[in-house]
Homo-oligomer: 259 residues x 3
């Protein structure tokens, strides 16, 4: 079995995703092509990186993940195959795989003639480069056949969690479809009995489930990615607090900011 996942910002209405699927199946007709999402906001590399990091780790060994959120299509960013020792990632080198693959084992530029269409459309590398490369990998070619090894250049430009003279802060790295605020503060760094300040509101302590608070109430909890999240039960925290990606959450312990 060969499993190929797809994650793009193409939407589906234009048939572009269909073309990508066709190219993969042309190379390997019995591949299982699995949609992660095609509804990433256009050019939102950080959102795609988050979705990939949520989904990818759960797939079986050998899965090939194709990620095409690529504002620089046809420009200088490099199409690459990234190997993390378990899965392969076929993507532009623009940071989109950086959350899912913090420590690549190897990366290769996609340069070989048979890993690209003969004359790739400059505007549709999804079909003419990334899908062709994924098809070759699905058909059993080695990632090192794609081209020369490279160092990845792309970064997301999202700061990691930080602790400064004013205390400890968590950064909101994603707002999910429910308006929940997902931060980069790992569970092991959340102090017991902490309070959290965000968007002018304060939350006392960590709730175990959404049902621990009443409907419409704000809560802090450890999310499915094992980091601090902020939500409104059956509501939309991003809208109600008017905060978004990049905003900070102040972490307060024992009446004052953790320092």
């Amino acid at each position: 079995m060969s499993i190929v996942t797809l994650l793009t910002d193409f939407g589906t209405v234009d048939g572009y995703v269909g073309a990508v699927k066709g190219v993969v199946l042309q190379a390997r007709p019995d591949a299982a092509v699995v949609d992660i999402s095609h509804e990433i906001r256009r050019h939102d590399i950080a959102a795609a990186a988050f979705a990939l990091a949520q989904a990818a780790p759960h797939f079986p060994k050998g899965t090939i993940h194709v990620v095409v959120v690529d504002p620089g299509v046809g420009g200088r960013r490099r199409p690459v195959v990234v190997d993390n020792g378990n899965h392969l990632f076929v993507a532009p080198d623009n940071g989109v795989v950086s959350l899912a693959v913090p420590r690549p084992r190897a990366a290769y530029a996609i340069e070989s003639a048979d890993f690209r269409a003969p004359q790739p459309s400059p505007t549709f590398h999804g079909r003419d480069v990334f899908a062709v490369a994924a098809g070759q990998l699905a058909a059993g070619r080695s990632p090192s056949d794609a081209g020369p090894p490279v160092e990845l250049q792309g970064t997301l430009g999202l700061d990691a969690e930080r602790r400064d003279e004013h205390g400890q802060y968590a950064r909101i790295i994603h707002v999910d479809v429910f308006g929940n605020l997902i931060t980069d503060l790992a569970v092991e760094n959340v102090p017991p009995d902490a309070r959290f300040r965000v968007g002018g509101f304060q939350i006392d302590g960590i709730a175990h489930t959404f049902e621990s608070v009443s409907r419409g109430k704000l809560l802090a909890y450890i999310g499915s990615g094992n980091t601090l999240e902020i939500a409104v039960r059956e509501g939309n925290a991003a809208r109600e607090l008017d905060v978004g990606r990049g905003a900070t959450v102040e972490v307060v312990e024992g009446g004052k900011t953790v320092g």
Copy 2:
């Protein structure tokens, strides 16, 4: 072949659905994972129940349906495996399978250690409970391995069709994406030459096809689920009549309400 369908209110942009797919494929890499929908309105159990009832009966024997519309995640509602003698349904016990499975043959609580992740995230049972259980079933485990047999508790709270001293009524149980109004009045209970009153409008008789009326006109017809439906040809009946789920349609025969 093992077929696993997915029906959620997750949307796809956050990668949560991708995680669910990965977990299923991890357990059974050659399963065919089939999307029913991930665009159910958040927490709309009745809408998911309708979609499941539309889709599920058509799948081959042995199909496993995973349904995660679960406002009570982490709370007291029970994750269950429901067997109707033909298919298995993996879902919270909140009524979401009640239309597709009006008479379960058996139901089991999902309690066994190997039918759940070791430490399920309280906010993501889709991945850590339902997908794990579906993966075990897809890999050949018996539903009774999931846990002890239980009686299902969940209901939708939608009344069935009713007939009272004032006559016969159909209830709108779903508004579809086209704005068509789907009722619970079964074809065999629709009187010949009936008229229908809804939202202040009256419709005479049953149309055989949409093309039986002119564009923009209201019609009553027997829908694909063999119940009475109301639509506007190439229009949106819910919007134009300003009615929605739960509203009643009065059924009139021979000049007066059927009594």
Copy 3:
């Protein structure tokens, strides 16, 4: 392997697409059912035709494409199987396959009893006619088993590119999800050093990539379908130029319209 693609205007929330998938898999449980799109604007035959033409050619020989954008469901348009010598297309005869299959090798009306449900719902031929027919084909039946050979009647009513006494014009045949304007002017008919006039704006020459111009700037380029396209880099050309499908682009060479 049997690959069956689906392209509809159903959306997914009502479970109708799920029903179609179930019917196909009932007939051929190991078919690979591949979504092209279910988000085509309701009844927009031309948009579905474009998406199909983008996607279909890339699939392996033997692929079956099911296309259900069918405003005339239950009416007089004929359900057909179209064979282009490489793929089969199962669709209403309303022009929706005309871009993907400009020269059909053969077409057959879907009339045989086993290529339709016993009593097809007049409002859901997607499930009761097209999916049943696709299932039969996926299970190995010949397209000529569907019914008698027919001449296709459906057309899109989009003019081809034209050249008149006033010069050469390209016609916008599609606005994609990014707002890019896709025309019918084939690359071989684009004069070197041409200028383009559309919506009151003028564009000089063909850009090789989006990165050839600054953000927010208008560009003309050869798109992935090898025709002239107009876009705004990281913007929405349809909105900014206020033009849409059917609008013309004037092609000017050497200071005057090409004649």
